[in-house]
């Protein structure tokens, strides 16, 4: 009997992480774009850390933060009478944290590629900053932003190391696809592991293939190019 719970949980985790990183990554990259201050380089290095650290180290640091004795864990416990450690929310957090640098880097590069004269032109035509952002900056940065969205979605979907540290492997509750694959393979159930492998490969392949096809037909900013 195939268990679908890891598939559903993984899709939920990937989409929730995607929402979190798209909002935080895009707004932070936009906000930092034209700002220069002491410590900016340090801040950017910290933001990129989850990309270069082993995921299990990121997971360990998250565990220290949101564990029952950790600063965030204590606030959650004392103020909201709840915990997120070893729940699906911890898996979403882990996915978001490791996917964040990919979104941030892609958004940063995408915004740097936007010709600022076009934004100035919009301003002289009476557009406020909000309208400039939505009608000029975002459409012109769109291909790079979409690339970042796909990368972070796939990264969050495949997250293993940090997830197992903070969400554990509770079958039926916090077991995501990569964890299910690992433990099925360890239990020598290669049929189940292979089935999950097919599903996760199918999802990531469709996401990238679909976006590339879409980008080729709809992309005016970077015509004739796919995203990947």
């Amino acid at each position: 009997m195939t268990e679908w719970q890891p598939v559903i949980l993984s899709i939920k985790v990937a989409f929730m992480s995607l929402i979190l990183v798209s909002i935080s990554g895009i707004s932070l990259a936009y906000w930092l774009r034209n700002r220069d201050f002491a410590g900016k380089a340090v801040l950017e290095a910290v933001l990129i850390m989850p990309l270069v650290l082993p995921p299990v180290v990121t997971g360990f640091l998250l565990l220290l933060l949101i564990g029952k004795q950790g600063p965030v864990g204590q606030v959650l416990n004392n103020v909201f009478y709840t915990q997120i450690i070893f729940t699906p929310y911890a898996a979403m957090l882990a996915g978001a944290v490791v996917a964040f640098p990919l979104m941030y880097q892609s958004a940063k590069a995408a915004f740097q590629g936007v010709n600022s004269t076009l934004e100035d032109a919009a301003r002289t035509l009476g557009a406020n900053e909000w309208r400039v952002f939505w009608t000029v900056t975002i459409p012109l940065a769109w291909p790079g932003l979409v690339a970042g969205l796909v990368l972070s979605f796939s990264r969050a979907l495949g997250e293993f190391g940090a997830t197992i540290m903070v969400a554990g492997n509770i079958p039926g509750k916090t077991q995501t696809l990569p964890l299910a694959i690992y433990f099925a393979a360890e239990a020598n159930d290669l049929t189940l592991a292979g089935f999950y492998v097919l599903i996760i490969s199918g999802i990531t392949f469709s996401a990238i293939y679909g976006l590339n096809t879409w980008a080729r037909s709809h992309n005016r900013a970077w015509p004739d190019k796919g995203l990947f």
Partner: protein
């Protein structure tokens, strides 16, 4: 009448420029790097001068004395950039309508008039990467005028065009200025163009 009297520290020198423009064409003329474009950017409100004032028809756009700085999107100063800065993700029609506040009959009439004046009716559905230099220039001019500006700034508007197109557009620019009756401030490094277009030529060194 537009009155400009500003100082701006730039790397290597201080830009110090004073002039006024009636409702006609003033040409800022001088070599590259003398601060012509900086002057336009100050008038548009894209950068802030260090001192002085910019007043149009009694309305103060900038004054270091009273700490006035009207933001760029409230100035009603249209700016035609050197490379035209047309939006590549919008077609010609959407480009031209970008600066319109109220989509009413007056705007429709102005749109029809501009398409006719600039001979660009046949281009409205195209994207801007499919336009020639002269066509881009006309579309940029239509877009700038659709926003119903009180001042029009033009940065090297004709420098990227071939000789024939340039002569033709010089005539059209003069005609449009006479129809619109607002100050045009135009930047060029070309002496002949300065003479041909300017009702008044201001030398910057």
């Amino acid at each position: 009448m537009l009155h400009v009297d500003i100082k701006k520290h730039l790397p290597g020198f201080t830009l110090d420029v004073q002039f006024f423009v009636e409702n006609n064409i003033a040409v800022l003329f001088g070599p590259s790097g003398c601060g012509k474009t900086t002057t336009l950017r100050c008038i548009a409100g894209l950068i802030k001068p260090d001192a002085g004032e910019i007043i149009n028809n009694g309305k103060t756009l900038f004054s270091s004395e009273t700490q006035t700085f009207v933001p760029v999107n409230h100035r009603r100063v249209s700016y035609m950039f050197q490379e035209y800065a047309l939006f590549p993700h919008l077609n010609v029609k959407k480009n031209i309508w970008y600066g319109v506040k109220r989509h009413d009959q007056t705007a429709e009439n102005l749109y029809a008039q501009l398409l006719d004046l600039l001979h660009i009716e046949h281009l409205t559905g195209r994207f801007t990467d499919k336009l020639s230099g002269g066509e881009k220039q006309r579309v940029a001019l239509a877009r700038a005028l659709m926003a119903e500006p009180e001042i029009l700034l033009l940065d090297e508007p004709l420098s990227a065009l071939d000789e024939d197109t340039r002569c033709q557009l010089q005539i059209e620019l003069k005609r449009i200025q006479q129809l619109w009756k607002i100050p045009f401030v135009l930047v060029t490094h070309d002496r002949n163009e300065a003479k041909a277009l300017g009702d008044k030529v201001i030398f910057l060194e």
